[in-house]
């Protein structure tokens, strides 16, 4: 049984506890990333939830590829850490244009594909011949 919402948890920052009548004060909640659930929290945690990016729109947040420089005024200098983000360009490149996904990048894909198929099919044929020869009882060839 989970404690009643007003029950102060050990992680609470408010420390407000109960009123004299035993009724809890208005309670705040915060999201515990450990239990993946809401647990009791203080006002500070409720109004400044961990992970909230300030000043973003209320619709579904866009996937965050890197620290947002536009909205977070305290963004660290690590935004272009180890190269800049080329995923959007690649997303434009890999469009639904009828080309199968394993050949989408053109020539390098073709080369790899053809090499792989040559080795597997050629190898399989060689393998079957070798097995046939190995199964001949007294074949001295």
């Amino acid at each position: 049984m989970r404690p009643a919402p007003g029950f102060p948890s050990s992680l609470s920052q408010s420390g407000r506890g109960f009123t004299c009548a035993g009724q809890p004060d208005a309670m705040y909640y915060k999201f515990s990333s450990f239990t993946q659930n809401l647990i009791g929290g203080g006002a500070a945690a409720a109004y400044n939830p961990q992970g909230l990016k300030p000043l973003v729109s209320t619709k579904l947040p866009a996937p965050i590829f890197e620290m947002p420089t536009k909205v977070d005024s305290e963004s660290p200098a690590a935004v272009s850490y180890l190269g800049r983000n080329k995923v959007p360009e690649l997303q434009k490149l890999f469009q639904a244009d009828g080309v199968l996904v394993h050949l989408k990048q053109g020539v390098p894909d073709q080369l790899l594909y053809r090499t792989t198929m040559a080795l597997t099919i050629g190898g399989s044929i060689y393998c079957l011949i070798a097995l046939y020869m190995a199964s001949q009882p007294k074949n001295q060839k």
Binding site: G51, M67, V79, G83, T115, G123, Y126
Partner: protein
């Protein structure tokens, strides 16, 4: 342009399953020819083709997900089920080797001297390198969790640092185990002690290498901005696998290294 009215992924026709099956045939036949006829050509072909198929198949999955956006929540749920089922099958795989170990060690035969460890076997001290290995893997479990939280909080530098540390710890474990193998006072041919020890720890070591490779790929993808703060299943799958490897080691350590010494 036609649109589908469901959220599932209709995969493009792909040559990799067939090529993979042929590569598996080359691997198995290659092993047979290597054992019986001392010829490694087919085996080599099998290893190369397996590597090529794995590279291209997983490259295509990254294209379908990160670049083409086909991994909807429904698709991701299926992938989660798949990874869990795969790890479960690996649990059963290791269960077999633990069964073999306990079968031999709980009632040692007269040929072993009626005792475990068998007569003549000098076991490794569980409180030396094996204990260090335990600490290394436990620490790597902490760092991979740190990486996950950094990822979820869109903290790029920390995610990269934590993932790098995890990979380094995994490589450190592999190096330590390799040294232990080299220095061990017994071999795989030394009765069931040697067989159970090296087969169980050997397959575990192979899984550490696989897990480290998986994490290295995740590290590479993280530097290339593939993961977002709320969609990074590839990383989660690697982390699950890594935790599984860690737990198997704990069982190995308790059973074979400690109790069995």
């Amino acid at each position: 342009m036609s649109h589908q009215t469901h959220s599932f992924h209709m995969v493009h026709p792909s040559p990799w399953p067939l090529a993979g099956a042929m590569a598996a045939m080359l691997l198995t036949t290659g092993l047979t020819f290597w054992f019986h006829y001392d010829s490694s050509l087919i085996l080599l072909l099998g290893l190369i083709t397996t590597l090529l198929v794995m590279l291209q198949w997983w490259r295509d999955i990254i294209r379908e997900s990160t670049y083409l956006g086909h991994h909807t929540p429904a698709v991701q749920k299926g992938l989660r089920y798949g990874m869990i089922l795969f790890i479960t099958s690996e649990v059963f795989f290791f269960l077999g080797f633990f069964w073999a170990f306990y079968h031999s060690s709980l009632s040692p035969t007269p040929e072993l001297g009626g005792q475990w460890p068998p007569v003549g076997i000098t076991t490794l001290d569980p409180f030396e390198v094996p204990l260090l290995n335990t600490a290394v893997l436990l620490a790597s479990g902490v760092t991979v969790t740190w990486a996950h939280h950094s990822l979820m909080e869109a903290n790029r530098t920390q995610a990269i640092q934590a993932l790098t540390l995890t990979v380094l710890l995994g490589l450190y474990f592999t190096a330590l185990q390799a040294m232990e193998y080299y220095e061990a006072p017994f071999t795989i041919a030394d009765s069931t002690y040697g067989s159970t020890f090296f087969v169980a720890t050997g397959f575990h070591g192979l899984h550490v290498i696989i897990g480290s490779t998986f994490l290295m790929v995740c590290l590479y993808r993280q530097t290339k901005y593939h993961f977002t703060s709320n969609h990074h299943f590839g990383f989660e799958a690697a982390a699950w696998y890594w935790h599984f490897v860690d737990v198997v080691w704990l069982f190995l350590y308790i059973s074979i290294y400690w109790w069995g010494s």
